[in-house]
Symmetry: D2
Subunit: 490 residues, 4 copies
């Protein structure tokens, strides 16, 4: 257990935040090493905490959960000695709810593990169970005792109470009671299990390594361990992997897939293949579409590092305007300014980014960023650029206006904090104080992911609720708590 | 005092390493805040340890030295409360010699501080005193007791023994006894002092902030605190700054300047202005020169992140071959894998870099890197690229072959470990197993820094000893220890 | 929050070890302060770990569990801020089973806490549930998920599954299913609950503090908070305390009390009143009885510190032989030699005790100790005493031979490791190499606790299983695991 | 390496505090193990911090200094591996001046170590150099740089500047410039050196272990390592020990010895032999003298634990009144309540001591304590005793009234805080609110140490300045700072 306080991170509140990454492996020597590497590759999906569960015949289930980064907690000999076995799963997590103290937070770190009559199972998930509150109430009434405030734990309790004759059966039974958008990696003493919700909102991929197998949120986690990318787990599919091979189950009613389009915009790493496409290529395409939809005369195209980089390259290639590094990122930023002084806290984005003053001076600058959430960072960057002597500043945003919160495992501000929920594009331009501001259109975004005709409003092939307000899975718990869904008029 | 072990960093041994960054400020409220921010901006110059000294009339001199990053040690309210005062200096350091235990290491962390009859002074330096060994022997014989194994401490002892009538006089007297290449930031109770050696090998810049002043290794550290860049400290100049202003002294015999050209190639941040030039612009120029000197047909130009990026952009702009991110860097790498397992240690560069497989497949790829030192990383990158299905791999290196060690505050391997010291360019190409390998010429490098006629062999305007073997300051201690300088034949 | 490994304690394996102390308080401001003080006073009952649960209307249930001593973990402002409320319970524990790693150990630290439909409860206990294994199996089969390997957790699960209409009812229902010897302190949001098993084997006392109430394993924990001793909780009684007062329930069938006689011999603090008697007075009586039963000519009577002290005083008073401190205890011993070197580990008892050589030389010495378990310490002490020049060494032991393990919450070696299980008194004398060795008789011990006629073999009024092998509660789980109870022949 | 704050210890301010213990060993395998054990035995002489220096031909001098207890810092394999060699010295220390932060404190932890032309030396001392301030000023003027605020460091600088032809010569030269009361243990690469000041105020003993030798503040530190007590180092003697044997030097002018009598009263451990006498026997004698000088009718004699115990035994033996444990000490008290809450801080002595209520009730009690300094603890104990129902309370103090501060390495309050400096014995009795209060007379104390005629006022054989105000060494620095010595009238 770390003696660090949970890190302050006053600097990152202007992004949507993927909340989790999951990884699992079976059939390898010292599985925990592989899980640690896989989680390290998925660290961008959650930096607050991580956990690993393994199983070996000698020690049974082994669990370690820590606040902080994978590289700081899960790579030492000492830790590995605590996590023996040839099967393991892991989880990285970005904490959402404002947990008051670390004690509570550790209880909520996945994977969750429970012993029940068939020997127990561990479960980690990425996403959100939208009926977790009512499931929890029901389980507690029947005598289940919860260790955590996490909705993942519901799955373990449903499994413990199931009459299924083996653990995969019990998991199927549990999953049928669960609503939401999630990818799950689970394990028993001898089986690795993966599952995506019926719509396949969150990603999950399968890889082969030697005689073993791996499951990961993104393919970049297969690359780091040297596993071969096999395929995506299909929406609604549950795979049960033993050393004999991969067996598919389909616990849910068939449904049209609705992969999260924001995984392409921002969440996934550019070197990953998710939803069947190269993320980097998609982002470069977005930049090209943006250059077509929203051209402007300028001297240089600069990314807001690092997430705006591929789209800025695309914009430059399409427009012929030279690409340049107008903003430099501090490599040692991290997220761990521990209880910073007021003065340091006020530095905000300057701790992370600096303008390349010699380059920017007297230039007309196109800045390409992935998204605008609250707009606070965009304003500060604009000020830094103007302060360095830029003649003009044009913002080009590689996603449509983010006007609706996500309830599928993403940390979004309340609706009223989203700039696009309260302002038109022109009001935003004026609020940010830039010479021009253009977002890619929703159709343009669909073209960038390969749909030549743009979005089909009657049967959109992605979940784009954060842009459109159309939620493919009803956010039951949220509605119960008063969330107002989009009305016909909007 | 941290309870961490010094971090393992088995992954970074294939770069020359700047060993230090220095920063100082006077005339501001809570100087330690500014020093911490400045050091954070200079963190790329040293990640092993850092220290800050401040002075306030109430508490006298205050000192804190820690292993690890600035952001982890020097940003908390608690730390600031230990470092009150309106004047302060700081230092970040990359440890060179293999110190066996942390106890020793902490003793060697700068700034050094000593009380002597005029009230004491603290000193931090970037560079190397080339006659430190003989100075040390002499001082010990006369009864001085050393706290550390650092050569900086000689300066403090020379000052303590000086008969000078004030501290700047004592420092001048001390500096006259010292040989080497160094930039110094020092402080007394009321004065901030900066000094560069006679040749100006290492950088030092002056900034203005409100009514106060700042000194920094690079201008990016002025940007972060909002200070205005005023000028470089001149080679051989010693400035004494009080609240009244800046006073110049010239302790050394006048000499032709020989700024370190590797600061432009790799050490300095691209958003800095050092040696009177934009680092980013120089690097982009190097890429353009390289495209002229060593063109090749290919599909994409990719940087080895992050240091190869500006040169790759220049190469792309000059050659017209599209720029693309063929290698993606893990943002959460850090350098702090603590006592990693064998398996993780063996991952080496894969922990830090991943190939963008979807992009690379079936492409002819130009890879632009800043330098080749041992060549170990280059080999691994080549393997990763080929493994991802590239058709051809062409390395273009933004510096000439590194064939000689640096003795001026840079961590370089012994000569025999330098690939270019033992192989021709063609042997290196074959050793790395790439389709082509080209280094920029020394003349090309001089053109990129603005010398249209290339290098003047009779009076070169930079220190380029690591490429040329011509050392502008005799490395006395090293020669005493057996280093073989270049012979006429070489 | 400690970052220490569980301490090594190679020096204490020659005592029976009480495993737990419990404490609870209601109706006071900042209950956690009182709980911490109470646990500090009970620290001799368990030094491995401690935990506190409190409840406040604003924060709900708050829990903190830590490895290590109360004074190191639970006395800071910061900890108190995490544990608000006017009701709280706590637990100190000596870990018995060889838990391999700290991760597991923390899961097993009490109090346990579970949320269920009536708002949840926390439970801590001292003793042992002798049918825990079978209860656990049954609960798991019905879908309960255990967080820990502790038998206390059974009680929480039984409560969660109970149909009782309030929490005290649920606890009564749970307790009726439980067999064993235990004292329990529990709490709901508004009630403090205390309970002793039907035989009252383990102690539990009630105190009054201002308008509030306290429950504690021993009266010394009432003294430290300034509470007034009210009475013992009766064997088989369950008290439910609210701010209105104390209400008694009797969940168990009435039974004759069998308080643990070893609490008087060693476990309890001498300044406590337990089982209705002063522990100090009992121990002094034991010394007097011993002097009558086993007189010997000698120069001085010395205690083996600190537990032998009162009996040595009694022996001296009865015999007229002067009392003296022949062995001095190192006050800074603690139990936390962390990963000691071989050489230090081998020092064993010398780290803790030193002979007062000047006093001992040429004397005939009576050494009074509380008990002999394995005999390893006794041998080392004898050697130290002889080495210091004693003429004769006579051991007098303030308890009968310990020949049977305890299954009621006491850490005892396996039967074959108990010296008295394999040797006669004379064999032991010879094994220890002393001039004489005498244990108090079982009748003598009963006389010392006030039973003038000694022990009634047909209806003994204490649990003395460790001496007699007569277990008042069948140790079911142990028998299942192969423990061989006393045969008629023994 | 501790990450703890320096411990709060609000509970111990009512004792004089020995500030240091020293230990050294030569000619043994793994000297650091022996030093650690020796320091552990001397821990009562200083609990704030400790340090060890060793030397091995392979590693040179090795140093480790830590805040906290020996057992927590210096017993691990890992620490030993940092301290190789067959010669070593160590130091435990009680911090006196209120150092504001730990950073400073560590700088001041002994042994001090300096490299100078003959290879360096390390020095630790117990006591005080009374002209340290003026020595320090002089050394700084000549260019010496001090690492610490400790007066020990003067000795190292004097040695570094000496022209002596070997280190013992240099130490002799240094010692001749030093005034004060001190025992020193020092080492070079091959020699162990011990020295007592001319009056022999502080203790130092010599022991033999195998073919090696040990030096220690008290003989109990010889016992723990199994060394044989050889003799005391004589006042004014300097021993230089090599593997060949012990060589004596006499740097000071001969003088009559004045051993600190308070070592017998309180500082030394009862199992030590110091000043040629058994401490335990002396204390028992004090109790007997006290019973003769100040008899009273009572039911029981109780020590204030633990320091009052031997005198209470003596009082009981002389008076025939039964000895009993009326006050019980919490074994887990330690001194490390870290940042305690107000409520816990206010508990004061109750955290450490509890009254044995059942014993005390309705009794006439004689309480024997070693000394009265501020009287704060005595008042609290009296309250606890009365609160428990005692009929009468009689204090008997095993030392004369402490009316003067000590300047020879003991932490004493300012004179005006000493109860006996401002009140008569009768006023004290009334202030403490007890039925009677008697201190042993100064003559009685001298009789207890074997001087049948009591103290010779013209040539007292001990330093008793704390009682008599007669300082055998002028406290120069203190007088410079305004201390008022005793006038003829007093």
């Amino acid at each position: 257990m770390s003696n660090k306080m949970p890190p302050a991170h006053p600097f990152d509140d202007d992004k949507l935040r993927e909340e989790c990454g999951v990884f699992g492996v079976i059939g390898v020597t010292d599985a925990a090493n592989f899980v640690a590497l896989g989680l390290h590759a998925l660290q961008h999906r959650g930096q607050e905490a991580g956990g690993i569960v393994t199983h070996s015949p000698e020690t049974g289930f082994n669990q370690a959960r820590r606040m902080g980064l994978v590289r700081d907690n899960f790579t030492s000999e000492k830790m590995m000695a605590m996590l023996p076995g040839s099967i393991g799963i892991g989880h990285v997590r970005y904490s959402t709810a404002g947990n008051k103290n670390q004690q509570t937070a550790i209880r909520d770190v996945q994977p969750f593990f429970g012993e029940f009559s068939m020997g127990g199972a561990a479960v980690a998930h990425n996403g959100n169970i939208t009926n977790a509150n009512s499931l929890r109430r029901e389980l507690i009434e029947r005598g289940s005792i919860f260790q955590s405030s996490s909705d993942t734990e519901c799955i373990i309790h449903l499994m413990a109470r199931s009459m299924g004759r083996n653990i995969p059966d019990r998991m199927e039974e549990a999953l049928r009671k669960v609503e939401g958008a999630f990818s799950i990696v689970a394990m028993t003493r001898t089986k690795l299990i993966g599952c995506r919700d019926a719509l396949g909102v969150r990603p999950l991929v399968l890889g082969k390594i030697g005689n073993g197998w791996a499951l990961a949120s993104e393919s970049c986690a297969l690359d780091i361990i040297g596993a071969e990318f096999v395929r995506e787990i299909a929406p609604g599919e549950m795979v049960v992997i033993t050393e004999k091979g991969v067996e598919s189950h389909y616990p849910f009613r068939p449904n049209r897939a609705r992969f999260c389009i924001f995984e392409h915009v921002y969440f996934s790493r550019p070197d990953s293949i998710v939803g069947g496409r190269s993320v980097y290529e998609t982002r470069e395409n977005i930049g090209r579409e943006l250059a077509k939809e929203a051209p402007v005369e300028a001297d240089i195209v600069c990314p807001v590092p690092d997430s705006g980089t591929p789209a800025a390259i695309g914009y430059s290639l399409q427009s012929g305007i030279p690409y340049a590094m107008g903003i430099i990122r501090n490599q040692y930023m991290g997220r761990t300014f521990i209880e910073p002084t007021e003065q340091i806290r006020n530095m905000g984005v300057r701790l992370k980014l600096n303008v390349n003053r010699a380059l920017i001076k007297d230039k007309r600058v196109i800045l390409v960023d992935d998204s605008v959430v609250r707009g606070t960072t965009s304003r500060k960057i604009k000020e830094m650029i103007l302060d360095a002597g830029a003649k003009e500043v044009h913002f080009r945003i590689a996603s449509p206006p983010t006007a609706w919160p996500c309830f599928y495992g993403v940390d979004t501000p309340q609706r009223e904090k989203l700039l696009a929920a309260t302002m038109t594009e022109d009001e935003m331009r004026s609020h940010l104080g830039v010479d021009s501001l253009k977002f890619i259109s929703l159709d343009g975004l669909y073209r960038a992911v390969g749909e030549a005709n743009g979005r089909d409003p009657n049967a959109p092939s992605y979940c784009d609720a954060c842009f459109s307000g159309e939620y493919p899975v009803a956010p039951s718990d949220m509605i119960e708590q008063g969330f107002q869904a989009k009305t016909a008029a909007e």
